[in-house]
């Protein structure tokens, strides 16, 4: 089995002298910038003057940390049993969403498109939608089809409600098959807005369609749980563990953990897990709803509060001891139960771990990038362990997020140095990291370029994570998730210590 042929990979291969020389020869035809121009411009890009110009950009967006609405709609759709996401518009969009989610989860992402082309732009996409529904029913046999729109359909103003009704009248799709739809234009909001729109549409559709409100005693005592645009399948397992410890019955509204973490068992079946469609109308009678994201599900929460008239506890991503304490207390208050002993014990073990590691975390300056809910969770975690957030970039937050983030930071001495740059991008972050260095950067894989330019170690938390495997399979919420994040961070710090250690400081024990 030993490989004696010495086959080198692309990194080694192209570093060889032969290829070095080739690169030089090629430059003759490139009309390249001179090495000094490159050096000067690189230095300029690290200057204060450049940073000022960078922050005065009004139109140019460089390396944003957000995706577009229908991507979130696809994720929302895949949270329901045997549901096929259907994208009405150009077909390239569907290809992109499927690839993007597959690169993060390393899982298949079924979704179809109505494949509109130029004639659709002129005549509208009715025929595409009708034929598309007929074809996908025949091939993929979904029990629900969740339709969302891409730019093209939005700009030309296709009337989804009327189109779907036409499809039903033409008999291509049975009245028994729910076809909720959401308008998800990519030119407003971001992937979290699209998640929200689709989730709300699915809940309201299934609720309104159910002719009989079958509320049993059991339904009344159940709890609803929403995770939102959740890139961590491990978080589903974590919240289920917590609720089981409470001994509670619950319904997860939008559970895509099955579809994004399905087993390799020798066959592929398209649909794995997901919220049962029949559970949705029953969920309207639940005791209340706990939502583990708030900015990503604003409209859905409004809907549940208004239409289902439910008590809601919504929190940003519950990372850290304090946030988890509050979550558990809310669950206890809402359901009139006690916080179970096993969770209290788990809390103790995680606090123990935090005390063990505190000396490597204290005073560490960090930069954070992510969606609003994740950022608030991470800020909370940093503050409670003595880490100091410095640069916080959010591309897709709103004013309310900005205010909440600033208040949270103001609540702690460790938040004093922080600035929240809402509506900014990762090219801004690059300037921030270079002009005011930090010890650690935390964010998605997209942050790797800025982190490299600034020579800051990157801790991958968030979405998307393309260049590391399986991180999304572990939780980042609750006490256990806090431990996972702690060990990720502290071990990165320790690895840095080893890497940068002089001979004498290469300690065996840390």
């Amino acid at each position: 089995m030993r490989d004696k042929l010495d086959i080198v990979d692309f990194n080694t291969l192209f570093k060889s002298e032969t290829y070095e020389q080739q690169r030089e020869r090629k430059r003759e035809f490139e009309a390249p910038c001179s090495p000094s121009q490159v050096t000067e411009t690189l230095e300029y890009s690290q200057s204060q003057e450049y940073k000022d110009k960078n922050f005065s950009r009004s139109s140019l967006v460089v390396n944003p940390a957000k995706a577009c609405q229908p991507l979130g709609a696809v994720m929302a759709a895949l949270g329901f049993e045997k549901t096929l996401p259907f994208l009405h518009g150009s077909q390239g969009c569907a290809a992109y969403f499927r690839s993007h989610l597959s690169r993060h989860f390393k899982e298949p992402v079924p979704a179809v498109s109505s494949s509109m082309t130029e004639d659709g732009a002129v005549f509208g996409g009715l025929r595409n939608l009708v034929d598309g529904l007929e074809n996908c029913m025949a091939l993929y046999k979904p029990e629900m089809i969740a339709v969302s729109t891409t730019c093209m359909a939005e700009v030309i103003g296709d009337d989804l409600q009327a189109f779907i009704e036409t499809a039903r009248q033409e008999g291509v799709i049975s009245r028994d098959i729910p076809v909720p739809y959401a308008n998800t234009p990519s030119f407003s909001g971001s992937h979290i807005t699209g998640y929200d729109a689709m989730l709300k549409s699915i809940l309201s559709f299934l609720y309104n369609e159910s002719k009989v409100k079958l509320s049993t005693e059991e339904d009344l005592t159940k709890l609803n749980v929403i995770l939102g645009f959740e890139p961590y399948t491990g978080n589903f397992a974590e919240i289920k563990k917590i609720l089981s410890a409470f001994g509670l019955e619950y319904t997860v509204l939008g559970d895509h953990s099955g579809n994004f973490d399905s087993p390799a068992a020798g066959e592929y079946s398209y649909y794995y897990g997901g919220t049962k469609l029949t559970d949705v109308p029953k969920a309207a009678s639940a005791t209340g709803t706990i939502s583990l994201q708030k900015y990503a599900v604003k409209k859905t929460i409004e809907y549940i509060q208004g239409e289902w008239n439910q008590q809601i506890v919504s929190t940003y991503t519950p990372i850290g001891i304090g946030a988890t304490d509050r979550l558990l207390q809310s669950i206890a208050d809402l359901t009139g139960s006690e916080i179970p002993a096993e969770l209290q014990e788990e809390r103790g073990r995680v606090v123990d771990a935090l005390t063990d590691s505190h000396s490597y975390l204290h005073g560490k300056r960090v930069a954070l990038v992510g969606d609003p809910d994740l950022l608030l969770g991470l800020i909370g975690f940093c503050l409670e362990v003595g880490m100091e957030p410095v640069h916080i970039v959010c591309t897709n937050g709103d004013k309310e997020f900005l205010q909440e983030a600033e208040e949270l930071l103001a609540s702690s001495l460790y938040g004093e140095e922080a600035t929240v740059h809402n509506g900014h991008d990762l090219w801004h972050m690059r300037s921030l990291l270079i002009s005011n260095p930090v010890d650690l950067a935390i964010g998605s894989s997209h942050l790797k370029y800025a982190a490299k330019d600034a020579n800051v170690p990157l801790i991958r938390i968030g979405f998307p994570i393309f260049d590391r495997h399986h991180m999304h399979r572990y939780s980042i919420i609750g006490y256990q998730g806090t431990l996972n994040i702690l060990s990720l961070i502290v071990n990165t710090v320790l690895e840095q210590l080893d890497q940068n250690a002089p001979e004498y400081g290469f300690d065996l024990v840390r």
Binding site: L5, Q22, L42, R103, G120
Partner: protein, 482 residues
Amino acid sequence: MSTDLGGKRQLIDDMLEAYPAKAKKDRSKHYEVNNEELINCGKCAIKSNMKSRPGVMTVRGCAYAGSKGVVWGPIKDVVHISHGPVGCGQYSWGTRRNYSSGTLGVDNFTAMQITSDFQETDIVFGGDKKLEVMCREIKEMFPLAKGISIQTECPVGLIGDDIEAVAKKMSNELGIPIIPVRCEGFRGVSQSLGHHIANDAIRDFLMGKGELEECGPYDVNIIGDYNIGGDAWASRILLEEMGLRVIAQWSGDGTINELMIAHKSKLNLIHCHRSMNYMCTTLEREYGIPWMEYNFFGPTKTIQSLRAIADRFDDHIRANCEKVIAKYQVEMDAIIGKYRPRLEGKKVMLLIGGLRPRHTIGAYEDLGMEIVASGYEFGHKDDYERTFPELKDGTIIYDDPSAYELEELAQKLDIDLMGAGVKEKYVYHKMGIPFRQMHSWDYSGPYHGFDGFKIFARDMDMTVNSPVWNLMGTPDRKTVSV
């Protein structure tokens, strides 16, 4: 291989029974089973380059993907604006692995996502003003950018923006080429029209605009190599060793200057015919530059191609060519000696893009593997005509198959390896079928040339013969053997 043509056709027909009548009629035209007649005459009736049926889960992308993603994106010293909403640029950011040298964000702008991030107001009032400001801001932020390309997304073409006027105005103001590319995703039926539109923009704005100080008798261009995992570098090295001078590389690791001086070459060498044939015919028409196709996958095809290329020159080059072949022959024999016994007779199914459904056949065959089905996401008739002669009697050839069709066929044909893209990859992992991504080389590569074939052979072996596939099953079935 079985040449039971009737059986294969029956298999296809049975599979298509799942479709509603209209779609079934359409889909059946996109299949053919190879036979002697097709192999010999190369003419085929297979339908291609037609609209995908809605709702079938096509593997295809769009014109923007073909232009920004494929042809323009790799041009490293140009800033490419994804003009419109944020998504298209986000999803195509840094995912194709078109390698290039240079300093990212300083004199290289390939793995960056530059977007106008359209908002509702841009849709209502138009995005032209914003585009103007963006061009100025690009010049400020990236002073070494040699040009700007404007890659339009769907809304731009629907709201009536005049990006051509903005490009002209700003090009004058900033003194660099600014190239409008109308590659809105709704145009055409696949990535393919995007390639064509991208080629036309090169023709209209850059072709013939540059000067080459000294021209030589051995000047050639590499056309249609996107340097995935370093493919173009592993190809260029062979041409240079043979004594040829590569003056332009389109477009992997390419520069705007190479786009502008390519008309000075003596011969165009085209690898991906699908995505850049338009420029070869244009350069032939306008400048009389002949072109030829070549195939640098696998030693057999690479050697054939090297000799065919050398034959376009003189004895000096021909002699060099033989030296190059002799130099690598030993290494190639060792690779085949090691991997062929491990891969002999393994059945492969492919669904890829521009050239690979036919160009990689030889590389698989060098390893003793057999292609049992192959086809294109967005091929045209000329691609299929070139494909039939490369495949054996009885091979299934398909055009734009849906996810359903691929999965059915993979199971029915009992394949040992599937080669397609990331959207397909994890489905096959569930099914326990070894899979390689054949667009991104599954984060490996290069696969071109002799250096590339070593990696190709190693990769196919590691995937086909990995023990992980034996772990499928359930504990009680005791299917696991170690």
